[in-house]
Subunit: 141 residues, 2 copies
Amino acid sequence: MEPRISLITLGVADLPRSIAFYEALGWRRSLPDLTDTAFFQLGGIILSLYPDLHTDAGVPAGRGPGAVSFAHNVRTEAEVDPTVERLLAAGGTLTAASRPMPWGGRTAYVADPDGFLWEIAWNPGFPLAADGTIHIPEDSA
Amino acid sequence: MEPRISLITLGVADLPRSIAFYEALGWRRSLPDLTDTAFFQLGGIILSLYPDLHTDAGVPAGRGPGAVSFAHNVRTEAEVDPTVERLLAAGGTLTAASRPMPWGGRTAYVADPDGFLWEIAWNPGFPLAADGTIHIPEDSA
């Protein structure tokens, strides 16, 4: 099984509310005529917002945001706080303030309208490539 | 804010159990000397398993797998069922059997040991690039 994630689907409660939040980050919705889902192209993967995820997946309705976070890494430490501000201005909720971490970087966590967590991180040990992808250093050794 | 996800972190309950599951897919753990977390390089992003996510993120412990799924898309319809079998052999639990979908593809959902959902999908409308990345067709129009 090839190591690959193609889409991340969030089972949001209120699709227009979630679209408004992610568009407020400056992210452009793809295929905007769709009414039951929303897609955002994020590099080589797709973020999908889809209230009926539980039906397709065969799991009970009412699951919350869960024990999962999505990291948006930035290239410099100075970019962390303005990126957090951008998420808060879009309607996010700060759950862990920006602070230096034991592993040498800086990070903060912001919840989206459903409580899905975004980690805004600068990690000097895992630098971003020019195209925005991230690679664990041993893999390029 | 650039459209980018760098890492996906799952707040798993039992790190060795989760490592065993993902390694059983044939995925190779990076930096295997780490004891509090596990990393898997998936194309240009990283999958992280981290039991202490809730502490870092400032949210209550005990969140479950949540209303989120991760899609692993394959290149042909014939690859869906063998990929599902691979996940089941690794210890996954089928939550929605492989079936044709109204949008023209085929999909199934399998839960990992914590209940995190993996969608195994073939979508002829969103073909994979040679490097495994996926792009919404309008974006290349």
